[in-house]
Structures are given as structure tokens and as C-alpha cells.
């Protein structure tokens, strides 16, 4: 089974990270043998240096490699017009950028309609996934409020962790049609993946490993051995993400 990973990171952070890789070539060398053959990749500089430098770095890093798609960081359009240009969403397609990330805590903004206005309406309309990671400081009320303001927004909740992830995230999946769960730490919970699929459906779970912080082998093994149908495994492993990307590309 081939896996299409929505949650891959490259780049060396300012504080040394075990197993961090500098390039897409190194990334797929690390993933060799896991079954992860494609992925949506972001660069740690997008968070640590800023969107201007980081977005350019990930565009350069994935260029020419068919295995990798990119992910850009968004900032408030009012203050950061140099990054959030009028043609931002069109430039994404040119650079094979298929998803967005936001770091409201680290980059100090409100992830809200007051800050993003019609930009996130356009993102919603195009079906571009916004990847929200709980690896970094992130409060659930922010996501709940965001979804209330942009109910059609496509959001993938990544790096959910163990503590109450289902109690916090499942109501969002149930109430908003375009909210998805990234699999790695959903499947961390014993029986978690099976229960999520049974309750929410396999269409709402997308494979992610959280590399390099978390183990791609572990993420893969959990899906392979989950007690769900082969069809559901295929959706989670690659099908659901492919569908999202095609939708965002207007195909």
C-alpha cells in the first residue's frame, strides 16, 4: 500500500532536531521502505523565520520533484501585504503549493474574520486545505471560532495528540463538512483509528506521519494493521488527500 503523507516537514530548526532533513531528496531517502511515496511538505523556516523566507524556501525545495507538494504559511493580509499579495492563491498553483498552514500563536495574530476577511472566503471556495497543527501552541476555541466564521473552510487537524483529542475534535468533524483528522496521533490511541472510522467515516481521516518529530514507521504500521476495510485503508493512506488536492486544483 502506498501512502501520501499530509504532514511532512523539512529544514533544520534553530534548536537541533533529531532526524531533521534539509532537502526533499533527503526526506524521501529517510522514508524509503516505509511505503510513504508522496507528501505535502512544509519547511520549518516558515514558522521560525517567517512566511516570506520560508514560503520561498519550500517552493524551491519541492520544485522538480514529483513526489513532493508544498504548503505555504499565511499571515494577516493587512499587515503583511508583501507575502499576502493579491495573486497569492494563483501563485500557489504555479509553485505546486496545495495547502496552507497558520501559526497564530508564534506569529502573533488572530485567526479570525476580522484579520483575514475575504481571503479565507476565497480559500474556502477553492477548497484549499488549511493544516492546523497541535504540535505548537494552539487552543481549541480558536478552531471552533474559525469554523463558526468560515463554515465551508477545509481544515485538516494535525498532530492531535492523545489527551481528549476525540472529545475536542470529533464535534468539529461532525458539524463542519470539510474538517478532517490527520491520522498519526489519532491512531496513537489504542483502538482510536477504528473508532474514528466507525463513528465519522474513513472519508474524514487523512494519513500523516508528523515526520521528523514522529515516526513514519509507526504511523504506517498503525494504518496497515487497523481493523478497518482495505477500501477504508486506501482512502486514509492516499485517496482522501488526492481528492482534496484535485478539488483545490479545480480538477
Amino acid at each position: 500500500m502506498e501512502f501520501f503523507d499530509v504532514n511532512l516537514q523539512i529544514g533544520r530548526p534553530s534548536i537541533r532536531q533529531f532526524g531533521a532533513v534539509s532537502s526533499v531528496a533527503e526526506l524521501f531517502q529517510e522514508l524509503d521502505g516505509t511505503g510513504i511515496t508522496r507528501g505535502v511538505v512544509w519547511h520549518i523556516a516558515q514558522r521560525e523565520c517567517g512566511a516570506d523566507a520560508g514560503n520561498a524556501m519550500i517552493s524551491d525545495a519541492i520544485a522538480g520533484d514529483d513526489r513532493a507538494f508544498g504548503c505555504w504559511t499565511i499571515l494577516p493580509p493587512l499587515t503583511d501585504a508583501n507575502v499576502m499579495t493579491a495573486d497569492f492563491l494563483d501563485r500557489m498553483a504555479d509553485d505546486k503549493i496545495v495547502a496552507l498552514r497558520a501559526f497564530p500563536d508564534h506569529q502573533r495574530f488572530q485567526l479570525s474574520r476580522a484579520t483575514f476577511g475575504s481571503f479565507l472566503d476565497d480559500v474556502s471556495e477553492r477548497g484549499i486545505p488549511l493544516l492546523m497543527s497541535f504540535l505548537y501552541p494552539m487552543e481549541w476555541p480558536i478552531i471552533y471560532s474559525l469554523m463558526k466564521e468560515y463554515p465551508k473552510l477545509t481544515v485538516v487537524l494535525c498532530d492531535l495528540g492523545l489527551w481528549g483529542q476525540d472529545r475536542q475534535s470529533w464535534p468539529l468533524v461532525e458539524n463542519y463538512p470539510n474538517v478532517y483528522l490527520e491520522s498519526s496521533l489519532v491512531s496513537l490511541l489504542a483502538g482510536g483509528l477504528e473508532t474514528a472510522v466507525k463513528t465519522l467515516g474513513a472519508d474524514r481521516v487523512i494519513f500523516g506521519s508528523g515526520f521528523p518529530i514522529h515516526s513514519p514507521h509507526a504511523a504506517v504500521l498503525d494504518v496497515l494493521h487497523a481493523e478497518i476495510s482495505d477500501m477504508d485503508k486506501a482512502k486514509i493512506a492516499a485517496g482522501n488527500l488526492m481528492k482534496l488536492i484535485k478539488k483545490a486544483a479545480g480538477k
Partner: protein, 266 residues
Amino acid sequence: MSIKSTLWERFKTSRTLDDCPIYDMHGHWGSFSGISMPASQFDIAKKLLLQSGVKRLVICHHHSLHSPDIGNAANIASVQQLPEILRAYMAINPNYPEVIEKDLAEYDSYPDVFVGFKMLSGYHRISVDDPRYQPVWEMANDRKLPVLLHTWKGCPYNGYEPVRKVLEKYPDAKTMLGHSLFDDWDIAAELGANFPNCYLELTAASQIRGAIETMMKTVTSEKIIYGTDFPWFNQPYCIGTILGADITDEDRRNILYRNAMRILGE
């Protein structure tokens, strides 16, 4: 590094391997107030353990740890419900010395249940070297019994300093550092290297890539123990973290079952 492992290739196609049983030395049982866990239900837990080839899971029931009014009765009942897989650590809550005294007096009445003790000092807010734990440590030390500690970086109750004190004072107890002083991997490894009966247990730790490799700069794989906090963490995920670490298959076997079998005398 790209991992080259026969075990990885075999586990990819088979959920269990007869020649690589799973010995999980850090388990729990039942429900817990802060989290919804499918495997807190008996039928689901049993099924998941069997499906993953878990030959032995040593538990301490959540209710035994968190309710003195329930106490170790929950541990005894749980092991008796699934004796082919489960053994238990006697739950020790030093806030209730009178309960400890009674429990220790009854320890030998349950030779098929208890294999040692579990201390959850960070939750009970009493340091592992506090005198209220003394009768337990003395018994563990005299009988060379396993003691599973919950240990965490910087914690005043179960961080490096208090843990080192009990290792010095009770060197014959088989002390397992649950979570390996989480995020203090090199310090945990130092303790594992300096104290012959101190082991590093991997619950939550193995999920952070590099933790095992960092520990193994200082200790051999014979001092590292597999654990999952089951019914918290999923067995395939945790097994995958061991298979994906940059170590040998012999190391993986030590971690997944050999060391635990030795500690349990099986």
C-alpha cells in the same frame, strides 16, 4: 538513515510474529477521567491485545491509582479476568500509609496477580524518596521486585534528583523509569548506566524520534523496556516506533520482550 530491518519487513505484513512476542511493562486498565479511550472497555482491550501479539501486559488499574476507595481490588479483579495476559503492579498511594500497610500485608496472598509496585508520584504529589514510600521500597529491595515509577523531566516528585536518591538507597529493586524521565533522555540513560537494576521504560518516550538512539549512546538495549500505557497508546504504533528506530533487530528484540522476560523471571 533509511531503516534496514527484517523485523520491520515482517511486521508490515503480519500483525504478530511468533518469534517476537510483545511484553508490555507499562499498562493500565479501565477508564480515566481526562480522556475517552475505546480500550477502557474490556472486550475491546482484550481484542486489541490478542491482535497485537501481546503475551504479557503488566498493568496498574487507573481506579487503583486514583481512588483509595477502590484501591487494589480493581487490580486483582482485572488480572483475574484475563490471567493469561495480565499481571499487576500493586498501586501505591503514599497519601494513605494505612492503606499501604494493609496492601503490603496482603501482597503474598496474590502471587498470580502482583509482580511489583507502581508509584505515581507526580499525580500523588509526594516525592518517590519520601519516607511514606519506605516500606514499599524496603520490600522491593529485599525481594528484588520490579517498581515502575512515573518519571518526568524537572518534576520535583519524580525527576532526576529524587529518582537518583532511591536508586542509591535501594539498589536491588528492579526500578523502571516510566517514560524515561521524559525529554531528559541522556540523564535517564546516565542513571540506567550507573545503576545495574535501573531500566528505562519507553511509554511516550519512543514516540519522540531520536529518544531511543540518544539513550543508546550511554546504555545498551538490555536496559530499555517496551511500554505503552495501554489502553492509552496503540500497540502497532508503539511497536512501529521501535521498528523505526536506528538500532539493530537484536536491540529491538531486547526491548520488545527479552528484557521484560528476564525482569519477570519468565
